[in-house]
Amino acid sequence: MTSNLKNVKPIFLKELRSYFNSAVAYVVIVVFLVIVGWFFTSDLFLMNIASLRMMFEIIPAVFLFVIPAITMRLLSEEKKSGTIELLTTKPLTDVEIIAGKFLAAWALVGIALLPTLLYYITIASLGNIDNGPVIGGYLGLLLMAGVYVAIGLFASSLTENQVVAFILGFVFVFALYMLDKILFYLPGWLASIVEFLGIDYHLSNIARGVIDTRDIIYFLSALLFSLYVSVLSLQRRNW
């Protein structure tokens, strides 16, 4: 499994362009701004709290349905239209195909997060802000988005139906998100393991501004594992 950045680039650019050529990119950006803006302003004006905490708490929930929507067509559409056959008979490795598509969707999430910096600037101009949690928060969100995108891509590789890909993707990321919220029902020895597997636990660690290698390793390994199974799933045609 080798990959060459020169081969990843055209796929990355094509997918990113197609997000912006269709309405997908704009819808995602607007959804982010509107939902996050709602919670931000209601905090600011109704409760007189000038803080980004609410934003960092709400975005992971928005991710749950926005990211599977971004990733749902990446592979399922190629399978349905048969273009997967064109793509996989070009001199590219399956790793390069997966990497290009993953990076494009991840980049779109990154781009959609950019306008939320406006809220940061607003807060920062109103008073002193502790930059640690903000940097940690954004880093955590990006890593979390990476994991979700990889999972969504895997879901998309399982089916040629976009709706099924969306639902599967949602179920997978929702399960991962909920893991550390069901600890109450689990015996103690299992609870600590499940807590470690839950994504929100690691996000909240990072969002406190404490960048711990254990959390980084968690995100990266979840991300790489999902990409790896996506590659395997793409190679299913060989079996």
Partner: protein, 327 residues
């Protein structure tokens, strides 16, 4: 850039899609891959293009084994898959540019090839249109242009003319002829005239097995065996069975003959001959000498169509013919 397929077998579960097939395509040859739907044409092509591996057997392209040198082989191949899948939301230039980049071509070469393909495939007027807006004929040209954007030595075209109207079929065929001159081409089809019109050699495949391999003419000769000559004469004769029939039969080429009266002083003879024996001229001279008037004379040679039918007829087809048609 020769292609060698040896002992290729592909299993889908228990079922053998292709069963131990071997053939060769010489450099520069246009090979027609002929067979009814479901015979294994597409499966074979998918294996040669490295889309999926065979269950057993091997394929080499230019002496490179496709499983060991998959990426190198893919660089040499231009592929038009069955049903010509395309990205409908891209415009023609974008799409060809994308395909070129996926082949890792250099910028300057891409520009040159892009212009060339748009020119050769007649896409100039639609180059900035979305592929989704194009007619089927144009889409097919886009598919061909995509397959040839990197100037491959080998072209693999899976039913390149399916779904086109007769004029478009002729256009695409000419295009393939034109573009395939310097390339090794495998094209699959279930339409016979296509093979006669475009291919140097034909491989007929049925139920996963090769049933014939040769030039279109060769196949025609091998499988025809005989030809029929029908002659209708006007001649006054009270007893044609004794007057006329023996005279017609007297030619040494004639294998057998039948007589049938068709009206007042009109007679029809159906003469079976060995293939390649044309006695029409002799009959004409004979008629002149005897004072007969020839009303009609025509010769029927087994067509490739019949060869194909003979080779690929399965018991299931026979049942199908007997079953009552719906409405």
């Amino acid at each position: 850039m020769a292609i060698t397929v040896s002992n290729l077998t592909k299993l889908y579960g228990e079922e053998k899609a292709i069963d131990d097939i071997s053939f060769e395509v010489k450099s520069g040859e246009i090979l027609g891959f002929l067979g009814p739907n479901g015979a294994g044409k597409t499966t074979t092509m998918k294996i040669i293009t490295c889309y999926m591996p065979p269950s057993s057997g091997s394929v080499t392209v230019d002496n490179l084994n496709i499983s060991d040198h998959s990426l190198a082989v893919r660089k040499k191949i231009g592929y038009l898959p069955e049903l010509n899948p395309l990205y409908l939301d891209m415009n023609v230039v974008e799409y060809l540019d994308y395909a070129a980049h996926l082949h890792g071509m250099e910028k300057s070469r891409i520009n040159h090839q892009l212009k060339e393909m748009i020119e050769v495939c007649g896409l100039h007027d639609v180059r900035h249109k979305d592929i989704g807006e194009l007619s089927k004929g144009f889409r097919q040209r886009v598919g061909l242009a995509q397959a040839m954007i990197h100037d491959p030595d080998v072209l693999i075209l899976d039913e390149p003319t399916s779904g086109l109207d007769p004029n478009q079929i002729i256009e695409i065929r000419n295009l393939i002829r034109h573009l395939g001159r310097a390339k090794t081409v495998i094209l699959s089809t279930h339409i016979l005239p296509e093979v006669q019109a475009t291919c140097d050699r034909v491989v007929i495949i049925n139920e996963g097995k090769i049933v014939a391999d040769g030039t279109p003419n060769q196949l025609q000769q091998d499988f025809q065996g005989s030809e029929l000559l029908t002659i209708e004469l006007k001649a006054s004769s009270s007893n044609p069975m004794e007057d006329l029939f023996p005279k017609i039969k007297s030619h040494h080429e004639v294998l057998s003959a039948e007589y049938q009266p068709i009206g007042n002083e009109m007679h029809r003879f159906t003469v079976k001959l060995n293939q390649g024996n044309d006695i029409r001229e002799k009959i004409f001279r004979q008629a002149v000498a005897e004072g007969w008037v020839i009303l009609e004379m025509h010769r029927r040679v087994t067509s490739l169509e019949e060869v194909f039918h003979k080779l690929t007829m399965t018991p299931a087809d026979d049942d199908g013919e007997k079953s009552p048609s719906v409405n």
